[in-house]
């Protein structure tokens, strides 16, 4: 399904990624529409994170092309590449906070590197970003080693959002959080997506997140996208892995009627 170029935030065509002889992604095609939250599922080791890291340029590909926000990353020069990198934010699975900087300094880091801002404005906006993800000024001066897992994820999200990106990549944002924090995080992502008009590419295992936050869900198996669509399409899928995933023991949360999240 080909759609208008302007409506597509990320277009992955015919992507092949292999480590030695081991082919992880095998001629994979995927479109992420602008303004949507796309949940990406797949078994452990199926290559979800590999896909995300390939899109953002951390892993070299064997074949295929990746187009992000209308820019083909293979043909872009350094200048264009940097311009695109400023328009996306990445939340790594472990947070990847700079361990020698405080939470506030972590959020300020992309601002300091990319923007010309007064110290006062930088401090205020960074604190505002932290407040958006539910952290107080008291947490702002803590070092990453003093933060809990949930707080680390929140700070990492604030850092990913520091430059007001149009597109964010989230690698398992709710893994390792308690259900309440995970629920808050889902709601937060939804709210931010609606107020900031974000496009969200989210790798997740959290069925609750898929149900409440994602507009569409894509499933990865055997190195390619086996199914993409909304939750009901996922539930109808006949693929054995999909059936096991969405109708397994832990999938009973999906049986409930979909919740509409407030903006």
């Amino acid at each position: 399904m080909q759609e208008a170029a302007g409506a597509i935030a990320v277009r992955v065509s015919d992507l092949v990624v292999a480590f030695g002889d081991h082919v992880v992604l095998d001629h994979l095609n995927l479109d992420v529409r602008r303004g949507e939250v796309l949940g990406f599922v797949g078994g452990s080791g199926s290559g979800k994170s590999v896909l995300m890291r390939t899109i953002i340029g951390l892993i070299a590909k064997k074949q295929g092309s990746v187009e992000v926000l209308g820019v083909n990353l293979d043909r872009a020069n350094d200048h264009e590449l940097k311009a695109v990198e400023r328009r996306w934010g990445v939340l790594f699975q472990q947070g990847a906070l700079f361990s020698s900087l405080t939470a506030l300094q972590n959020v300020q880091f992309p601002m300091r590197e990319n923007l010309r801002l007064s110290d006062r404005l930088m401090r205020e906006v960074a604190l505002a970003k932290l407040a958006m993800v539910g952290l107080t000024a008291r947490d702002a001066d803590k070092m990453p080693s003093e933060l809990s897992g949930g707080m680390t994820k929140r700070v990492a999200l604030a850092r990913a959002l520091a430059l007001d990106p149009e597109l964010v990549f989230l690698d398992e944002p709710t893994s390792g959080l308690d259900p309440i924090s995970a629920g808050d995080f889902d709601e937060l992502i939804r709210t931010l997506q609606q107020t900031l008009g974000l496009t969200v590419f989210m790798v997740t295992h959290d069925l609750e997140t898929l149900r409440t936050v994602c507009d569409r869900v894509a499933a990865l198996a055997d190195g390619t996208v086996i199914s993409i669509g909304d939750m009901s399409a996922m539930l109808r899928s006949q693929h054995p892995w999909m059936q096991a995933y969405f109708q397994g023991k832990r999938a009973h949360v999906l049986a409930r009627s979909p919740v509409t999240m407030g903006a």
Partner: protein, 393 residues
């Protein structure tokens, strides 16, 4: 993957010429502001400046209206500055209204408007004479704690060793052999090279200066005694402290960071027994061997220089060496080696376990470990010199 220039080498596109962001027109006793352009991060400096100018200029206005219809783009930075503008006027009791903000930006504007951040508490940093006292006090108590930690680790190691001697099956033989390979065998090439060169340099200096007095053959005495008693063991110990002590600290430190050491403890295993004892023991075994190899290489280097530079044939060098040195000299050097190894290992372990969560702390402790270990090696060497002198060795 393509090569990317570091950020500071690239041109930033912040340098865009902007139109006027805020234009003010006076209406009766109020001010009508019209906002245009991009209210986004890249323009933040200009917007901030324009806002400050309007806040300063609009002091006497009773009511202010801000027309946002002309705004092309809007993000958190714009929303925050808008909030700041609004707050500045309202704090002075002036009436402030935002009109015609495009619908799609309203959610963000309202979200940001309701965010509350605490203002920075700037603690005045003044220097007082008591600070200097505090610094000295902290330094002394720190030094004391270092000593206690060192002795504690030594004690823990002794206990672990006793335990391992009673139950040899529980000792980590595989780990110890692996460490022995790492700190011993793999260190041989570099140790050989360095000590060979040092031996050669000592001999060359000896010939250069002793020749003036016609005391050529005493060069052999000097090389032999110096290398066997002091230089051999000292150079090797310093090399090992830099090479293996640092890697022990970094390993244990990153294990501490990733909670691997805590994991060991919860499984009922003692990290001293599992991790530290095999490492320190490997070092204690390896350092005397390396010292022996190093000393031989230094003598070889000295002999080679004596032949090539000093014109002394190998037969004479060896014969002279036989007269000059005795087994005593060799013993003095080699006895020191295991003690130095113990000091290096214990310091490396203590510093490794002190690592906190950050990468910076890992680097700091690794540096500290090497510096302390080398310092201790030299102090030990001095103490041994006094000891051997008093027993006449």
């Amino acid at each position: 993957m393509c090569f990317r220039l570091p950020i500071w080498l690239q041109k930033t596109e912040n340098d865009v010429v902007t139109r006027s962001i805020l234009t003010a027109t006076r209406v009766n006793d109020g001010v009508h502001l019209i906002a245009t352009g991009a209210w986004t991060a890249t323009q933040a400096v200009e917007i901030e400046r324009a806002i400050e100018a309007q806040v300063a200029g609009g002091e006497r206005a009773r009511s202010i209206t801000l027309d946002m219809a002309g705004v092309e783009s809007f993000d958190t930075y714009g929303a925050w500055l808008l909030k700041r503008l609004q707050a500045a006027f309202r704090d002075r009791g002036q009436d402030f209204q935002i009109t015609a903000l495009p619908e799609r930006y309203r959610g963000l504007q309202q979200d940001v408007e309701h965010l509350a951040i605490e203002e920075a508490k700037t603690s005045p940093s003044t220097w007082s004479p008591t600070d200097a006292l505090e610094f000295v006090g902290r330094w002394v108590s720190d030094a004391w704690r270092q000593l206690v930690a060192f002795v504690e680790m030594l004690g823990a190691l002794s206990l672990a060793l006793l335990w391992a001697m009673r139950r040899p099956g529980s000792f980590r033989w595989t780990s110890a052999v692996h460490q022995l390979d790492r700190v011993g065998l793999r260190a041989v090439p570099i140790i050989l090279l360095i000590t060979f060169l040092i031996g050669g340099i000592i001999a060359q200096q000896g010939f250069f200066h002793f020749r003036k007095f016609g005391a050529d053959e005493y060069v052999v005495d000097m090389v032999g005694i110096l290398v066997l008693r002091e230089i051999g063991v000292l150079i090797v110990a310093i090399m090992v402290a830099g090479r293996s002590g640092s890697s022990y600290t970094a390993e244990l430190g990153s294990m501490k960071m990733r909670e691997e050491i805590d994991a060991l403890r919860t499984m009922g295993l003692d990290p001293v027994h599992v991790l530290i004892l095999p490492r320190v023991l490997a070092l204690v075994i390896a350092l005397p061997l390396l010292t022996f190899i190093g000393s031989m290489a230094a003598l070889y280097g000295g002999g080679l220089v004596a032949w090539v530079y000093g014109g002394m044939s190998p037969e004479i060098f060896i014969a002279r060496l036989k007269e000059a040195i005795s087994i005593e000299h060799f013993k003095v050097g080699i006895i020191k080696a295991p003690f130095m190894a113990l000091a290096i290992g214990v310091v490396a372990a203590v510093e490794g376990l002190k690592v906190k969560g950050s990468a910076e702390s890992l680097g700091l402790q690794t540096t500290t470990s090497v510096v302390r270990a080398i310092f201790l090696v030299i102090v030990l060497d001095g103490l041994f010199a006094v000891f051997f002198a008093s027993i006449g060795m």
